[in-house]
């Protein structure tokens, strides 16, 4: 079976100006959303307390809110989590001496207040200092990953590809974070992990394309750089397509079957696969082209020294 049967080379690079503007607009809106909407950071980063409880019957949020208010937790945010029997209560950072005991307190308040059998599903408490540190570490990790990848790709391919792929990765990360900001989805540690996985996936794609471009620069004699990039993209398009499908299939399984805790992770990756595929064509390749990638930069020069192949006579 064959989904894409391409006889002709698709002129990808002809649209690169338009795509560049499109990408820039997207990135700009991501930045705007990040500065106005901000990122709704999860407990991992902000610190605070989270309690997830399960009830036998559908929970009455109003009653729970009243209970929280009545017991001195007026800042509590009460929400359903996944189903109407699961409730999540979030509390912000507190100055109390025994902040780590809050979770247990709320649990007993719920138990006595609702008269229902309350099942403790999850308590998380994160101190403020931990959140700050994590923020720092997370940012640092992202940066280290990008730099390491830059070095590896520059070493294996060429600096123009390296710059192209790192810009593509930056593009993907920014857009994914922007999406989370725009939709107001919670950004926690698993989402950060998903973003690093997006980096992995997007890079995978970029490398496959770059590899083919390098190969074709060496193999095909005619045609300018843009033409050769078009040929390479067309040749790899079928593979790009199939791999995206299989990855999307498993991500769909995660999204629909993986449960609430994995939802953010799956969302980030689902989106990441799309932008990652797009960016390896229109960001990584286009940037490498704009930086002036050419036959000469990819074929190692052989310096011939006159008389090097002559037999030598030594006295």
């Amino acid at each position: 079976m064959q989904i894409l049967q391409l006889k002709e080379t698709l002129p990808f690079m002809n649209f690169r100006k338009g795509a560049m503007i499109f990408s820039l607009l997207l990135m700009l809106s991501a930045i705007v959303s990040l500065s106005t909407n901000k990122l709704s950071l999860g407990l991992d980063f902000t610190g605070g307390t989270l309690i997830e409880v399960g009830f036998d019957q559908a929970a009455d949020l109003k009653k729970i809110r009243a209970l929280m208010d009545g017991n001195g937790f007026s800042d509590a945010k009460v929400q359903f989590y996944g189903s109407s029997r699961d409730v999540v209560i979030r509390l912000g950072q507190r100055e109390d001496v025994k902040a780590e005991m809050l979770g247990n307190e709320i649990l007993s308040v719920l138990q006595t207040g609702t008269g229902q059998n309350v099942d403790m599903r999850r308590i998380e408490f994160v101190g403020a200092s931990v959140g700050d540190e994590l923020m720092e570490q997370g940012g640092l990790a992202m940066l280290t990953a990008l730099i390491c990848i830059l070095i590896y790709v520059a070493f294996r391919f060429e600096w123009r590809f390296a710059v192209g792929s790192v810009i593509a990765l930056f593009h993907d990360v920014l857009l994914t974070i922007g999406l989370f900001s725009l939709l107001g989805l919670e950004f926690d540690l698993t989402v950060l992990a998903a973003i690093l996985a997006v980096i992995g996936y997007s890079l995978n794609d970029t490398i496959v394309v770059s590899d083919r471009i390098r190969e074709n620069f060496r193999k095909i004699r005619e045609g300018g750089p843009a033409e050769i990039i078009n040929i390479s993209l067309t040749q790899t398009l079928s593979r790009t397509f199939i791999t995206s499908i299989t990855t999307l299939l498993v991500l769909a399984a995660l999204f629909f079957r993986g449960g609430e805790l994995i939802h953010g992770f799956a969302t980030a990756l689902l989106f990441g696969v799309f932008v990652g595929t797009y960016s390896s064509i229109y960001v990584a390749s286009a940037v490498a082209l704009a930086l002036g990638i050419s036959k000469e930069s990819l074929i190692p020069e052989v310096i011939e020294v006159e008389g090097a192949d002559q037999e030598q006579l030594t006295p």
């Binding site: 079976m1 989904i3 399960g54 780590e100 005991m101 979770g103 247990n104 099942d119 403790m120 599903r121 999850r122 308590i123 998380e124 408490f125 994160v126 101190g127 200092s129 931990v130 997370g138 640092l140 990790a141 280290t144 990953a145 390491c148 990848i149 590896y152 790709v153 540690l189 950060l192 992990a193 690093l196 996985a197 992995g200 996936y201 890079l203 995978n204 490398i207 496959v208 590899d211 083919r212 079928s238 593979r239 199939i242 791999t243 299989t246 990855t247 999307l248 299939l249 498993v250 991500l251 399984a253 995660l254 079957r257 993986g258 449960g259 805790l261 994995i262 992770f265 799956a266 990756l269």
Partner: protein, 615 residues
Amino acid sequence: MLNKYPLWKSLMVLFIVAFGALYAIPNLYGESPAVQVSGLRGVEADAATLDNIKAQLSAGNIAFSNIALEKGQVLTRFTNTEQQIKARDLLDDTLGDKFSVALNLTPNTPSWLAGIGGTPMKLGLDLSGGVSFLIEVNMRAAIVKAQDAMVGDFRTDLRGEKIRYRSVKKVDEAINIQFRNAESMDAANSFLKKRYRDYLVTDNDDTLVLSITMTEQKIKQLRNYALEQNITIIRNRVNELGVAEPLVQRQGKKHIVIELPGVQDTATAKEILSATATIEFRLVDTEGDIGSAIDGRVPASSELYYERDGKPVLLKKRVMLTGDHIVDAGSSFDEFSRPQVNIDLDSAGGSKISNTTKSNIGKPMATVFIEYKATDRKDAEGNTIFEKKEEVISVATIQSRLGKSFRITGAGSQAEAHNLAILLRAGALVAPIQIVEERTVGPTLGAENVQLGFEAIMMGFGLVFIFMMIYYRAFGVVANLALGANLVLIIGIMSLFPGATLTLPGMAGIVLTVGMAVDANVLIFERIREEIRAGKTIQQAIHQGYEAAFSTIIDANITTLIAATILFAIGTGPIKGFAITLSIGILTSMFTAVVGTRMVVNAVWGGKRLDKLPI
């Protein structure tokens, strides 16, 4: 001939997959509820304990399926949790406080598999349920405490050397000593430099001030010491909690991770972790009659205590010294290579003990360890009641007037001396601790997560299977075989490595690997199709397809591996689990997708004349 694998290569592939399958098998056998009995504070469970437990269980009419003594612990397996709980309650009551009784789930791995090191995968707390704490050691307090001790030490030293000074004060990071004249400052300068090599001494001739700071190395040493000490103490306390497989581990420069699988009552756990222990030195009352004291007639100035082994001992009420004066304690050997415990006190403690011991030479001195332990009982307001537990951990004769540092000899074996040193240090925590992160997962959520993760893996797998079979026909089946082998290898390797833990994000990592692992095969198959279209012979196309795709696959996977490694370095708990499964998945998928599929392709289609390929 093109596309033929030598026999050894095919055998190697089969062997590796079989090896992975062998170590993946233990995961199929489930677990049974068990009760684990282990000794506390150096006591080991032995054959007598085993017999005792057997007798208790049969007396209590509780049936068990298996009982065994392993590594100083008695493990009793039951067929259902009801009997397990009953047995736990019974044993907890009857075995006394020398043993900890914990609920456990033990794998039903057959003995032949266990014999070659086969165990099921370790589940993370988000799957098994339980609580994890991140504890921060207050390093600032440790340093301030050390500085306070320095102030006292300098005063005593200068007075001892008869060097006159005006004041010794703590100023920010430094200790400043103000002198009246340059001579005494110079004398102090050369004296202190000689005596304290890990401090930096700088003098100022104009103001007549000596400024002393700790070297970077000294501060580092201090921090390390504070962390190590806290870890030791926490480990001791955790062992008494009666948790089956606790984990206490250092993380970074000032954090300690504690994982307690299966623990639901986090309130008690927290109270125990933040409980305090102290040490007291007291004189032994040698005149009082111990026999009548046991009967209740204790002399007015004394109190009755018990040693570890239950031996009664009468101690004077007056406390000679409390543990907060202890700066350090460690074990070593004396000149006759007998184990000894060295104790260092701060200067105030030194002069105190010196005063009290000078008139008591030749008399025995006892060390009392006091700990506040949480009990099962609660008071009217629902707070856990703490029980003060006092225990005499050592009785030694005062040989001479003691000073700032002294030693206890005759503490028994080297292990006992070491233990005593730890307990002594526990009485003087150099740095307070604080719980900065807590994650508790209830058993229902844990079980649900396992179920969801399993379903997601199966569904993702199924979808990719069907797709590949439709799209690549026979070659799709080969890719699917590789995918199956890949899953088996991931599980086998995860089970084999003791450090690898399966978490919910880790399961997501497996699902993701499934999706991305087929990428290598897609690359190869697409290449083969291209080569066929370009007019190559079938055999050449297969050969070229694998050759050309190989370097791409390597490059693509190495870069993903870089991202996974960084994730592993920064992540904790569940995220680390994700990084581990992702890394293992990348490595195994390269093997199965490149070498594994080639073996099958070569065996089925290689080395013959073919006009068409089912791809």
